[in-house]
């Protein structure tokens, strides 16, 4: 996977934080994902069209709660459906922004699946075949989190 394909996702994370969350996020280390879920809760969304792939945002509970409370101006203290819903919407926004940035010409826009949220690490993601998950860790005003992106290798 090429760096120019990763950067739109990182930019979309920054866009999300600066607009809807009024907070700052800073990219840290980049690597290859090794575990199923590096954090407590993870939202995944599929991309299809001329490339196929997946995008995931994974959060510790503390970051997830801080983000939701900032977004809704609430004081939610436990993980509930509202938090899951918010995390799902955030990965939708990040993937949506990135796919537009990846569309540099007149190509047909890539399509997004509906997001899925998983909690804990007791699962595996094997899609797409022969690809790897690029993992980018972030620090932010609202706590650390992880972005993961994988695309089907270009043929």
């Amino acid at each position: 996977m090429k760096a120019e394909n990763i950067n739109p996702f990182i930019e979309s994370v920054y866009d999300l934080f600066s607009t809807m969350l009024n907070a700052k996020a800073e990219r840290k280390n980049v690597g290859i994902a090794k575990s199923a879920n590096p954090r407590d809760i993870m939202a995944l969304i599929g991309i299809s069209g001329r490339v196929r792939g997946m995008v995931a945002l994974a959060f510790p509970v503390s970051t997830a709660l801080a983000m939701v409370n900032k977004l809704l101006n609430t004081d939610i203290k436990i993980m509930d459906d509202t938090v899951s819903d918010a995390i799902a919407e955030m990965v939708n926004i990040v993937a949506g922004g990135a796919k537009a940035k990846l569309n540099t010409g007149n190509e047909k826009p890539l399509d997004l699946s509906l997001p899925t949220v998983v909690r804990g690490g007791d699962f595996s993601v094997d899609y797409p075949t022969n690809s790897v998950w690029i993992e980018i860790n972030f620090d932010s005003d609202l706590g650390p989190f992880t972005l993961r992106v994988t695309f089907e290798p270009e043929k």
């Binding site: 809807m20 509202t82 918010a86 993937a95 949506g96 537009a100 569309n103 047909k108 509906l114």
Partner: protein
């Protein structure tokens, strides 16, 4: 003034209801997909609709087309992650009044709501 907020994310609906409240619209119905939106428009009169694009059962773009085919002329603002120019043009051609790309700053959506309502009054 009565509004309909259409988004499969309950959290995003809350965000948009907050924006409508800042624009002094407090009577708000909610729909979780395009099909629910079309049904709501068949049963009620709305002054403005905020419509997501990617939703289960019926996409927002298809709901927009269905509502316009019903002869309804209220302002409909698409509020979506679909940021490609071709998507924006498709929505405007289908009858969208305005288009807001997620993520947005709160003031942006409030401003768009006020803008389209002022134009529809004029």
């Amino acid at each position: 003034m009565r509004a309909l907020v259409v988004d499969d994310s309950a959290v995003m609906r809350k965000v948009l209801i907050g924006a409508l409240s800042r624009a002094n619209i407090n009577e708000v119905d909610q729909a979780a997909d395009g099909a629910e939106a079309v049904q709501a428009v068949q049963q009620n009169e709305y002054d403005i609709i905020l419509m997501d694009w990617n939703m289960p059962n019926m996409l927002g773009i298809d709901a927009l087309k269905a509502i316009r085919e019903m002869g309804k002329t209220m302002p409909i603002i698409m509020v979506t992650t679909e940021a490609e120019k071709s998507r924006v043009l498709e929505a405007l051609k289908a009858g969208a009044t305005n288009y807001v790309i997620k993520p947005f700053e709160p003031n942006t959506i409030v401003g768009k709501i006020q803008e389209v309502l002022n134009k529809s009054k004029g």
